[in-house]
């Protein structure tokens, strides 16, 4: 039971991160019908910029409390990544809107490689220690005994989940209740008609990328805070998994991305937690990353539209 609760908690943290990242994929896909391949690397850049901001703030204002440092650094990273994502759209995708499908994918792959290389140049190949500014003291959720370790969590994990939920709620409000949200939906529905209605599709598209980038930066900093390190390759796997989450929930659908993210996190955590037990330790947690891909293939084969999505994945 303790293992179950422990993995549930781990899965929730992982899942809310995936959900945040998945939103970026799903919003862009909803509007442009392209997969933004560089999204995972925006996350990585966000974490590393956040790291720099933390170091700068700590050396400039040594008396600042940790929480304030983290909040300010996160805001800086989110702003930077919003800008970065907007630039990516402008440079790598805008010219290719009417190109064959492969073109934006390949140029996105190029951007991804470029961002990783730049990160390698600026921050070296080695993992950077990410200061853990929130308390990491274990909080026991269940009482363990001699045979079973208790299920534990910590403040960083709790705050991660809470902030992710808050931000996702805010995004839903933004998209469903505000003028900007309405124009985003209009552009997704039909860019030409939207522009006749006085909406500037290009501005909306850049904004969509920017929101996705900011969310990715937030997820990146949360990830680095939970794991205590950041490096140039940290965006790749979460990016792929978050894409899986977006597909699982139904790509193009915001609620679907959130649901898919949390579900995928739970599947991965529970799967990894029980794999060792079920197979007598033959297959261990080193197969963790296989789950997401299995889920992806299974979803695409069995229900390409995802849990909440319209039918999109199969060629019309």
């Amino acid at each position: 039971m303790d293992i179950f609760i422990q993995q549930l908690l781990n899965g929730l943290v992982l899942g809310s991160l995936y959900a945040l990242i998945a939103l970026g994929y799903t919003m862009v896909y909803g509007i442009l019908r392209i997969i933004n391949f560089a999204h995972g690397d925006v996350l990585m850049i966000g974490a590393l910029i956040g790291l720099c901001a933390i170091h700068l703030l700590q050396s400039a204002f040594p008396s600042l409390p940790n929480v304030v440092v983290l909040i300010v650094a996160t805001l800086i990273a989110m702003a930077a990544c919003a800008l970065l994502a907007g630039i990516i759209e402008r440079v790598a995708y805008r010219r290719l809107r009417n190109a064959p499908r492969l073109a934006p994918l390949i140029s996105g792959l190029g951007v991804s490689l470029l961002l990783q290389t730049v990160a390698m140049l600026v921050w070296t190949r080695n993992p950077q220690l990410f200061p853990q500014l929130l308390p990491l003291d274990p909080i026991e959720v269940t009482s363990g005994d001699i045979t079973h370790a208790p299920a534990i969590t910590n403040m960083t994990a709790i705050i991660t989940v809470v902030i992710a939920m808050l931000v996702m709620g805010g995004l839903l409000l933004l998209v469903e209740r505000t003028r900007l949200g309405r124009s985003m939906r209009a552009v997704a529905e039909n860019p030409q008609v939207a522009s006749l209605m006085g909406i500037n599709p290009n501005a909306v598209i850049v904004l969509t990328f920017a929101i996705g980038g900011a969310l990715a930066a937030l997820a990146g900093i949360m990830m680095a805070s939970n794991y205590g390190s950041a490096h140039f390759y940290m965006g790749f796997l979460p990016g792929i998994k978050a894409f899986t989450a977006a597909v699982l929930g139904g790509i193009g659908n915001l609620k679907g991305a959130m649901l898919g993210g949390v579900l995928l996190g739970l599947i991965e955590a529970l799967g990894t937690g029980y794999m060792g037990e079920l197979t007598d330790g033959v297959f261990g947690s080193n197969y963790q990353d296989v789950f997401a891909f299995m889920v992806l293939i299974a979803v695409l084969v069995l229900r390409p539209s995802g849990l909440l999505g319209e039918r999109l994945a199969v060629r019309a």
Partner: protein, 366 residues
């Protein structure tokens, strides 16, 4: 389709081009060897391996229009197959097998190479069967996932049975023996001392030529035209009565088999395989070669391979001294510059020259 008739009557220019190409292929290692020693010939060997890979990927991406981001997995399948069948690894793991084979496991290259091609084709179909009905961009992510899964298994299948030897990889793979000639040793042929890298070069060149020939024939065949039709408009192709699913599967299988053959040669050439040789970056590198050269155009793809395969050596030779001269020290590793270049190449080619630096002529593209 009057084009295919025109192709059978090579023009004077095409004939001269072919003769020059053959001469260049024959003399390349000697020129490179004069210029930069065996390291440069080794680079040519790798360029030829990349040509095999890129021509395989070109069938999938260039002809059929399916973006495969896990192509290196097929290379890995071929390489591991060769490594398992011609190294002592399996015998040390399974004593029963060792008892049955007192002379060790030394499978001939004549068996390994076709088997690697077949096995990779099998994997290609295995991957393609459930995924090929997906639209291109989904396929890209699924194949990327497949490539990663293969690598995770290679890294972790040292338990419960030690098959891949985990992250350490498999070493002492037999070198290639052809007609009793060991390609790993310097041989005296007609009074010339021919070092190992030269011998491998000619073997790889022959195989690359075979693959090139297969590609040209495929391209001009009914199947090749069907692939182009699918690439241009799948619905229309289907409406014309093409079995698009089977044709796409065929493209996957054939492309994969070229990758598998390349992998088997790679393992025997290196004498060593490990999971890290088959990372996503390698898949991207091969894709960059195809894209840079010109998707769907064989000479373009080959040019892309030669350019990008030579790039690291050129960078190593030049960048160090340029940086020394500019900054007084080596600031940036040439490896990083190479990656920077790959990334930029992918973006810029897509933006400004989607058909690559050497595209098919307009007529041929139709």
């Amino acid at each position: 389709m009057s084009l295919s008739i025109a192709m059978t009557q090579p023009t004077q220019r095409a004939r001269i081009g072919l003769v020059l190409f053959a001469l260049a292929l024959l003399l390349a290692p000697w020129i490179a060897g004069q210029a930069g020693g065996n390291a440069w010939v080794r680079m040519l060997d790798f360029a030829l391996l990349y040509i095999m890979l890129a021509l395989g990927l070109n069938i999938v991406v260039g002809y059929a229009g399916l973006l495969d981001l896990g192509f290196i997995a097929f290379y890995a399948v071929g390489a591991y197959l060769a490594a398992l069948l011609s190294s002592p690894h399996l015998l040390t793991q399974f004593p029963a097998l060792a008892a049955a084979l007192p002379h060790g496991l030394h499978t001939s290259i004549w068996i390994i190479v076709p088997l690697a091609g077949l096995m990779a084709a099998g994997f290609g179909m295995l991957l393609g069967a459930p995924t090929l009905r997906l639209r291109g961009d989904y396929l890209a992510i699924v194949t990327l996932g497949f490539g990663e899964i293969i690598r995770i298994f290679m890294r972790n299948l040292d338990r419960p049975l030690n098959i891949t030897n985990g992250p350490k990889g498999i070493s002492s793979v037999d070198p290639i023996q052809l007609f009793g000639v060991n390609l790993a040793r310097t041989q005296d042929i007609l009074g010339f001392r021919v070092p190992s890298v030269y011998l491998y070069y000619y073997l790889f060149a022959v195989l690359a030529l075979l693959i090139m020939f297969a590609c040209v024939r495929l391209q001009d065949s009914r199947i090749g035209r069907a692939w182009l039709a699918i690439r241009e408009d799948e619905d229309a192709a289907q409406a014309m009565g093409l079995n698009t699913r089977r044709l796409k599967l065929l493209a996957f299988a054939i492309g994969a088999s070229f990758g598998g053959v390349g992998g088997a040669l790679f393992a025997s050439f290196q004498g060593f395989v490990s999971p890290e040789s088959f990372s996503l970056n390698e898949s991207v590198a091969v894709l960059a070669m195809v894209v840079l050269g010109g998707m769907g155009h064989i000479p373009g793809v080959i040019l892309g391979c030669v350019l990008l395969a030579a790039l690291p050596e050129v960078l190593r030779a030049t960048m160090g001294s340029v940086q020394q001269w500019l900054f007084g020290q080596v600031l940036v590793d040439p490896e990083i510059i190479r990656q920077l270049f790959y990334g930029l190449a992918l973006i810029l080619v897509m933006l400004y020259r989607p058909a690559g630096v050497w595209p098919a002529s307009r007529e041929a593209a139709r």
